[in-house]
């Protein structure tokens, strides 16, 4: 008897009291919790996202599409970055104004080589306003998971309002489970030493989120 059979047989014996003929539906799951908390208009949801991102120490910028390349060049220059990883599907115009080495996201790159790169710029899959979370799903404009992990500075571009949802339930509806997903809420942090919060342990210590709108600013 394999261990698989042993464990499954133990489970079945342990559940002798459960009426099993009806299947799992015999236990009802109440789903009367909210799909989102508050019915905010779209502009307010974007505002809530910005506030919650900032509350968890992400640096938030607003810009329109035309201004994006200039802003990215400014942010990378301000930090003194000499190199930036760019996923294969990043719109080329985003980094058009930058004067620095662009490192492609290819399988051959070793973690050690990535460690020598200063910054990374990606898009995102969805952003959650209530929790201040951005989610990456490995799409071409976001690249492999490691490129947003090893470099110390991550600039993540979120298209607003179309990529923003209010809540966790709404985000899961938009995401594909088969893709590798990374949910990011602020830069990495620890409270392991006397509960003193320290930002930046292993992931990027600086997270900048650029909320880019296709509309012209008012």
């Amino acid at each position: 008897m394999s261990s698989r059979d042993v464990v499954l047989a133990r489970v079945r014996r342990a559940l002798a009291d459960v009426p099993r003929a009806a299947g799992p539906e015999e236990t009802a799951v109440p789903r009367d919790y909210l799909r989102s908390h508050g019915e905010l208009p779209t502009d307010d949801i974007v505002q809530q996202l910005a506030e919650n991102l900032a509350d968890y120490r992400a640096i938030v910028h607003d810009i329109d599409a035309a201004g994006l390349p200039g802003l990215l060049a400014h942010l990378l220059g301000e930090r003194g970055s000499r190199s930036v990883v760019a996923p294969a599907g990043l719109p080329p115009e985003w980094l058009a104004d930058c004067d620095l080495e662009v490192v492609p996201d290819v399988p051959e790159t070793t973690p050690g080589e990535l460690d020598a790169v200063d910054s990374v710029v990606t898009g995102s899959a969805v952003a959650i306003a209530e929790t201040g979370t951005i989610v990456l799903d490995g799409s071409p404009d976001q690249g492999r998971r490691r490129i947003t992990l090893v470099p110390d500075h991550h600039i993540c571009v979120v298209r607003v309002p179309e990529q923003v949802v209010a809540s966790v339930p709404q985000a899961l509806e938009r995401l594909a489970p088969r893709r590798p997903l990374t949910w990011i809420s602020g830069p990495s942090a620890t409270s392991d030493i006397e509960l003193d919060r320290v930002e930046g342990v292993h992931g990027p210590r600086t997270l900048e989120v650029v909320l880019v709108t296709s509309r012209a600013p008012l």
Binding site: S3, R4, V6, V7, L8, R10, V11, R12, R13, A14, L15, V18, R20, P24, E26, T27, A28, V29, P30, D32, Y33, H37, Y56, P111, G112, D115, I128, E130, T131, T133, G138, R145, R146, L149, P169, L172, P177, R178, R179, P180, L181, T182, W183, I184, S185, G186, P187, S188, A189, T190, S191, D192, I193, E194, L195, D196, G200, V201, H202, G203
Partner: protein, 498 residues
């Protein structure tokens, strides 16, 4: 943390020591109160917390009541996504499987994400015996590992250490594990975190094998979920070529949609955040991104025995948030080490004696490590009625009875130390069933009350060491009632008052 802890003292002895450690108590008090206050605020932000809690409870109950079904779905989905599924009936088998898988890679070292399950089975020790070095990468786990210590809290395992102790551990120990601590390291948390970053980074960058647990496994899709804060989890889950995840069978949830409940309940209950900094979700393997080989080891190790207990099985709903630790007056004073297992606090007091049985003095004492105040039940995000299970387990320790151990039905004998309590309870039951006997006894006690000792003799001595015996009144309530009201209303029937 070893698997068996045979040498561990019972909870009262261990707690008697730890409660005298004033610095430990100050650290614990500060930590538990800070987290519990923050948690209350984070939970208060969600107007539908009660509904989420009810849903979380029901999803876990549905899963547990049909666990075989969901485990088979999970296995299918993980396999279809390119993962390999292994089953381990107990700790020794899980350790053998992981050791074999690591050996097959030819590697002699692994990086680890904080995982309760691998601590429970003593994986690091088993790997060390096989000549494989396992590096803990969570900051607190690193502090614990370098200090040759044991974790004392589910969420913040090094909470019993203060900053200067941590600096000393880093200064003296980091060098023998890898990159030494920087010269002139101070005890500022930012500097200590930076030292850990530098020390661990070289390990992450060269690691070929990662070992993790998981917070959730989705049966429908085969997706595993790890929530964390520091990014060490992402490092271990993403950079190595081989990933081995050891996960308790109760961590499965039925559907992708179910995550919408737990990803709201867990961060707010645990770290008191709207969302933890990083959550990783992966389904099997992905071409060109992350590990090429993924092994999932499904761990029983007493979980099916726990499942067989219709009262106790609710402990398997636990999502390891640690909210119950932070509100527990016993944990706050005794600290995590006194519980003698990977699972401290109220949840440990009901989980450990079910996973391991109550044969050892330590495990038999754990259901008593509580004042039954109920605060743990109040905060539990999946509504585990911990006091109910504590009382149930106390009954089992005292009365013995039918249990399942290692998948086998067996009958355990009443614990020896509880003979006096059992005799006293039987006598009390006899007397309360017979009002005449009760009345005679009460009158005798009242008349002899000047002669009562302050402490009980014989086996009751230990009980009255720490408690004041209640004084016996001059007249029992029943006699007083009879004298003052019974006569007035002409209702002298004592039996009617019963």
């Amino acid at each position: 943390m070893s698997v068996t802890d045979l040498g561990m003292p019972a909870f009262p002895a261990a707690a008697a020591r730890s409660t005298r450690d004033t610095r430990l108590r100050a650290n614990l008090r500060y930590a538990t109160h800070t987290i519990r206050d923050k948690r209350a605020r984070a939970v208060g932000e969600l107007s539908d917390w009660a509904q989420l809690r009810a849903a979380g409870r029901a999803i876990k109950d549905r899963t547990l009541r049909h666990l075989d079904h969901y485990l088979e779905r999970l296995e299918e989905a993980v396999t279809a996504a390119g993962g390999q599924v292994h089953w381990a009936a107990d700790a020794a088998e899980a350790n053998r499987i992981v050791t074999r898988l690591v050996r097959a890679t030819g590697e002699r070292e692994v990086v680890k994400v904080k995982s309760m399950a691998t601590q429970e089975i003593g994986l690091n020790e088993a790997l060390a015996e096989a000549g494989i070095s396992a590096y803990e990468t969570d900051l607190a786990e690193l502090i614990v590992q370098l200090g040759k210590d044991r974790p004392s809290h589910i969420l913040v395992p090094a909470i019993h250490r203060n900053r200067s102790e941590i600096r000393d551990i880093f200064r003296t120990e980091m060098g023998s594990w890898g990159r030494p601590a920087p010269d002139g390291l101070s005890d500022r948390p930012t500097e200590l975190a930076e030292a850990a970053r530098l020390h661990l980074r070289e390990k992450f960058l060269r690691a070929k094998v990662g070992i993790s647990g998981a917070n959730f496994m989705v049966a429908e899709t085969g997706t595993l979920v790890v929530v964390e804060s520091e990014g060490n989890g992402r490092m271990c889950l993403t950079l190595p070529e081989t990933l081995i995840s050891v996960v308790g069978i109760e961590k499965v949830v039925p559907t992708w949609q179910d995550l919408e409940v737990f990803l709201q309940l867990l961060p707010r209950s645990s770290t008191a955040e709207r969302m933890n900094p990083y959550t990783s979700m992966w389904t099997g393997t992905t071409d060109g991104d992350g590990p090429r080989t993924f092994h999932l080891v499904l761990l029983d190790n007493g979980r099916t025995d726990t499942l067989a207990d219709t009262v106790g099985r609710q402990a398997l709903r636990c999502i390891r948030c640690s909210a119950c630790l932070n509100v527990c007056p016993v944990y706050e004073r005794a600290g995590g080490h006194a519980y003698g297992s990977a699972y401290p606090g109220p949840i440990g007091a009901i989980l450990t004696p079910q996973l391991r049985g109550t044969a050892s003095a330590l495990d038999a004492s754990l259901p008593y490590a509580s004042s039954l105040c109920g605060a743990c039940y109040e905060v539990c995000p999946v509504a585990i009625d911990i006091p109910e299970v504590l009382v149930h387990l106390r009954e089992r320790v005292v009365e013995g009875g039918k249990v399942v151990r290692g998948g086998m039905r067996t009958v355990i004998q009443p614990a020896k130390g509880h003979a006096a309590e059992r005799a006293a309870m039987r006598a009390a039951g006899f007397v309360f069933d017979r009002p005449g006997v009760l009345r005679a006894g009460q009158r005798l006690a009242a008349r002899t009350r000047r002669l009562h000792p302050r402490r009980l003799p014989g086996p009751g001595h230990a009980w009255s060491d720490t408690r004041d015996l209640p004084p016996v009144p001059a007249e029992s309530f029943r006699d007083w009632w009879q004298r003052t009201r019974g006569a007035e209303r002409g209702d002298g029937r004592e039996e009617g008052a019963k």
